[in-house]
């Protein structure tokens, strides 16, 4: 082989290819899973909890009941 004419490439990695692939995939999947978990916690779960707390802080159930009754949606409690 005329090795003097062209530069030789570095020998590629011949062994442990599946192990390396699995390790890399495990790391990527762990990072992505944790990322998805935290994203859901902050953007969905905590936001929803805040919304519920905010709503019930100033919720007057009697007022809402009277409003609905006046609007006429109940069949057993007709407006006066």
């Amino acid at each position: 082989m005329s090795a003097k004419a062209v530069a030789t490439l570095a020998k590629p990695n011949m062994r442990g290819l599946l192990t390396d692939q699995i390790k890399k995939n495990l790391i990527i999947s762990t990072v992505l899973s944790f990322g998805a978990m935290f994203a859901y916690k902050f953007l969905v779960a905590d936001k929803r909890k805040l919304a519920y707390a905010e709503f019930y802080r100033t919720y007057d159930i009697e007022k809402e009941y009277n409003r609905m009754k006046q609007a006429g949606i109940f069949t057993a409690a007709r407006p006066a």
Binding site: Y52, E64, R67, M68
Partner: protein, 224 residues
């Protein structure tokens, strides 16, 4: 008195270093009943060229057994090409596959100039030129790995046909809506839909994250 003749034939072939032919020949010889007749042919053939040995043995065998009227079916299919391995399933076929790189037969038939290269191949490989190495590769294989793996652009026609199918399905839906489906019920008129929306707001449906959470009840209109 048969056995030494068979061994002599095998030793002759072994001297020419054609292992595949030796295996085939010996297997063939031990397999047959008419060993005597055949061994005489084999002993004569060892003086001849190596490549046609198998076909000549087989034709000799065909003459010996009159009920074999056809020639060797493998030879008819693959011609003069050499069988070099088991392949994917034992059949003597050729295919270029990345996950199965060694087919059962060589790609090209043996021609005199290829035969010259093969003789040279038995010596020192560093004496072969690049062109000779390429010719030897092309004699055994149809495509290189780069050619096998080259993109074909098939995805464009696949995508095109898929989209054509989707648009045809949409035309069919339009036809169904016009000619097949019954008219919508009267609850779909704008006035009735408006009334339904008012009722939902009165009931305060979705008060925290849904519909009513976007309505301002003090001002009586939608929240900014």
């Amino acid at each position: 008195c048969i056995r030494p003749l068979i061994l002599e034939a095998i030793r002759h072939l072994q001297l020419c270093r054609r292992k595949a032919n030796v295996i085939k020949l010996s297997y063939y010889l031990f397999e047959l009943g008419m060993a005597n007749n055949l061994v005489r042919c084999a002993a004569q053939q060892t003086k001849a060229r190596i490549t046609p040995v198998i076909s000549q043995i087989r034709t000799a065998h065909d003459h010996a057994h009159e009920h074999h009227a056809v020639g060797d079916p493998v030879k008819i299919v693959i011609g003069n090409r050499e069988i070099v391995g088991f392949g994917m399933n034992g059949q003597p076929n050729y295919i270029d596959r990345v996950d199965f790189p060694l087919p059962a037969i060589r790609y090209k038939e043996v021609t005199p100039d290829i035969q010259v290269l093969k003789e040279k191949e038995k010596g020192d490989w560093s004496k072969l030129t690049i062109e000779e190495k390429k010719a030897l590769y092309r004699a055994s294989f149809c495509q290189t790995f780069a050619e096998m793996k080259a993109p074909t652009g098939e995805w464009k026609s696949l995508l095109g046909f898929t989209l054509i199918g989707c648009s045809f399905a949409m035309w069919i839906y339009i036809w169904m809506k016009k000619f097949v489906y019954a008219p919508l019920p009267d609850t779909f008129t704008p006035e009735k839909q408006q009334a339904q929306l008012e009722r939902m707001l009165n009931m305060q449906i979705g008060p925290i994250e849904g519909l009513a959470s976007k309505y301002d009840y003090e001002k009586g209109r939608w929240k900014e």
